[in-house]
Symmetry: C2
Subunit: 453 residues, 2 copies
């Protein structure tokens, strides 16, 4: 979490945060080519075990880095990510680079246009380094990525490769997505920062659509400063995604970097599914709450909220059934059995149940929003039931992400805890809609508090 810049040698450039790297490139201390070379060297060193990438063309990336260096050398204006490499989940369209959605049905697909987030990254000077492994259509069917902390364990999903690549120091920042727990869960399992911003803050145009209601872009980094920088670059309305909010650009970086005027207060919510959490999670959160003392209070969800998981499943499966209907119709045999079953369940859902689920979101959020109006800065809850499970046949359980994703609230996973065996355990903080900047500020405060100990 802390700045590693002061003691970084040229061979360790892959350890720089994106913000640091951009500053060093801007000042001429290093070149983009040096940075990209260091990241590619780290990928060569670790990729055999981690398997985070589904497409990587080192020469193309180095060419882009050299072009960025040349533009800077000519005095052309540079953006806040000038020369910095970024990993992109393989459901994010990239012009001229394959985007295969984790399915043989889309093998070899090369989009004609960049997703809006890619356009924004490139405009900010970033170098799309390559495409990272996703589960099958960003749902449950695992990809081939392993957990950088233990190759026998899942990295989590569906943004498996993006989380693992950032955790393995292959790239400072990467993009993923979240429709249930696809950013928070792999961030927690891999021990990096994961942010699912407020619904509508970042355009999803050019991403695989699973659920127009629930899909979000997700961000991975190793520092809060980098998450704020990514929000600054990526957020804003986009006519191509009508769900983007028509709001003014917020000063994410300065708010995230500031001190809270008073120590933040946390509402610890176990959810009705806390019994599914591992004993290690129970113990770690008990200790965390003890350390936070009066700044944390345990809050129970209203009984009404206990249906949130059902509503989420109804919306996600009904919408997936429409969005993946072409694949279901023409390539059903190439889908995993789990996905086929989900699509078949989705096809049976009535418009009545679907509308009921949709119309439950606002009343549910109204109840949660009261927590923030009253006294709390953030909801505190596990990011996942425990550390990354053993085995690569599953990417783990998104149960602790569901209600916040359903409500479109910003959520962040912080790698603050670990199991006795040294595996990362994520702490999830959740804020009110559009409270992304303050959520980062609260997260930074909590990380600093832990660094002191």
């Amino acid at each position: 979490m802390s700045s590693k810049g002061a003691r970084t040698r040229v061979t360790d450039l892959h350890l720089l945060s994106a913000a640091e790297a951009a500053r060093w490139i801007e000042s001429g201390r290093i070149s983009s080519e040096q940075l990209v070379s260091a990241c590619l060297a780290q990928i060569r060193a670790r990729e055999d075990q981690v398997r985070a990438w589904t497409f990587l063309d080192p020469e193309h990336a180095l060419g882009a880095a050299r072009a960025a260096d040349a533009r800077r050398g000519l005095g052309a204006p540079t953006g806040p990510l000038h020369g910095v490499p970024v990993g992109l989940k393989d459901i994010i369209d990239t012009r001229g680079m394959p985007t295969e959605h984790g399915s043989v049905l889309h093998a070899g697909r090369v989009p004609l246009a960049d997703a809006s987030v890619v356009t924004r990254l490139v405009a900010a000077g970033a170098i799309p380094l390559g495409k990272t492994v996703t589960t099958e259509f960003a749902v449950f069917g695992p990809g081939r990525t392993t957990n950088p902390h233990d190759g026998a364990r899942t990295p989590g999903g569906s943004s498996s490769g993006s989380a693992a690549a950032v955790a393995a120091d292959m790239v400072p920042i990467a993009l993923g997505s979240q429709t249930n727990g696809s950013t928070i869960r792999p961030a927690a399992f891999c021990g990096v920062l994961g942010l699912k911003p407020t619904r509508g803050l970042i355009s999803r145009h050019g991403l695989l659509t699973l659920s127009p209601t629930l899909d979000h872009v997700g961000l991975f980094a190793r520092s809060i400063e980098d998450l704020a920088l990514l929000l600054q670059v990526l957020s804003g309305p986009d006519a191509a995604d009508p769900a983007t909010l028509p709001v003014a650009q917020l000063p994410f970086q300065s708010v995230a970097a500031s001190e809270p005027p008073v120590p933040p207060r946390f509402a610890f919510i176990k959810t009705p599914h806390f019994e599914r959490a591992e004993p290690e999670t129970h113990a770690a959160f008990a200790e965390l709450c003890q350390r936070l003392g009066e700044q944390v209070e345990e809050i129970e969800l209203l009984p009404f909220a206990e249906s949130a998981w059902h509503w989420h499943q109804t919306i996600m499966e009904a919408e997936m059934a429409l969005q993946l209907e072409p694949e279901w119709r023409s390539g059903s045999a190439q889908l995993s059995a789990t996905l086929r079953q989900q699509l078949e369940r989705g096809r049976q859902i009535t418009a009545l149940d679907y509308q009921r689920a949709l119309s439950s979101i606002e009343p549910l959020y109204a109840g949660l929003a009261e927590l923030f109006e009253q006294r709390y800065d953030a909801i505190l809850t596990p990011a996942a039931p425990g550390a990354a499970p053993l085995g690569l046949h599953s990417t783990g359980d998104p149960v602790f992400c569901t209600p916040w994703t359903l409500c479109g609230m910003p959520a962040i996973s912080l790698p603050l805890l670990e199991t006795p065996a040294g595996l990362p355990l994520g702490v999830q903080l959740v804020g009110p809609r559009s409270g992304d900047a303050r959520l980062l500020r609260t997260a930074r405060w909590l990380c600093a508090r832990f660094a002191e100990a």
Copy 2:
């Protein structure tokens, strides 16, 4: 359509338009009490036959008129409808005045708060005169209103009473609603102006919700100036109706009153259902097109658009099934057989079909919008298959309203044609979304052109 002000005697005040009446009250030429008295006298004269009102308290209305006169006498600021009576369809909530949705299930229901449109009318100085007859839940089951032109014929529906009251000179302006053809059709049958503005222009908060996707507020008047005045008073964002558009207030009145810079051009669209139109409609539109000469061209809908009627029905019935579920569950025996069948069909619709229908709206609109970008000012089409049918068992066929309602486009019915027997035949003009002001300008041009002849 033309101003009757110059030759209006005090006993004829009920013939004034709302705009004229407001000017006369503002100038002190008449009082609100005189105007309301004249309207009440006209109601006494015609209500036995027309049966437009479901609630009317003459003393209360006169009291409100006297209070308006007193406020003006004290020099208090007055709004653009100061002292002018308005009729309100009985699905529009009025604080302290019954709102029964045309169903015995809501007999005696008195809302605690005004609908947003009522709040805006009252803030503009208008006097809510009373509540007008609606069909059962604003769907097909007829109320007891008759057509002012012929008591043996339907006034159309579902905004039956509002259309008939304005047509019978009982009130200069009235509000209704439209989910399919519930404003345009009764306006056409009763020979008055009816406007269904762009979706999102007027808040629906406090109206019975049948279909959040398709419901619109509808406006009735006897002059285009009054429709522009109503738009000015009623349009604008409302946090209580998230579908309202965050757009600046447009100068509806000045645009509607202006001359088109060049004579407008019309796209005559018969729709795939023109064979359902009466021979009289065929003849009248042939003559109309001949009179317009080069300013009109016949345009065929794309084959894709032929599903618009199916999509509309899917959305409306699926959404009604949710919105009227309480009534269906607890009062099914009190519903008409037609409505019960509709709700039962709605309960069977799958989320897949419902989403397909919803996601067809934008591609359908994109095709229609091209007409306006290319060369046409308005679509020209019948408002209904013919004049008001004989009998009160049905309110007629909304078939010529469906695609424009589905797309949320502004539509107006103009009483420009008539059958050989002298019954009104409506001409419907349809504009692009947010083109309401220019649609009124085009409509005024067409009315003036006819007045010349």
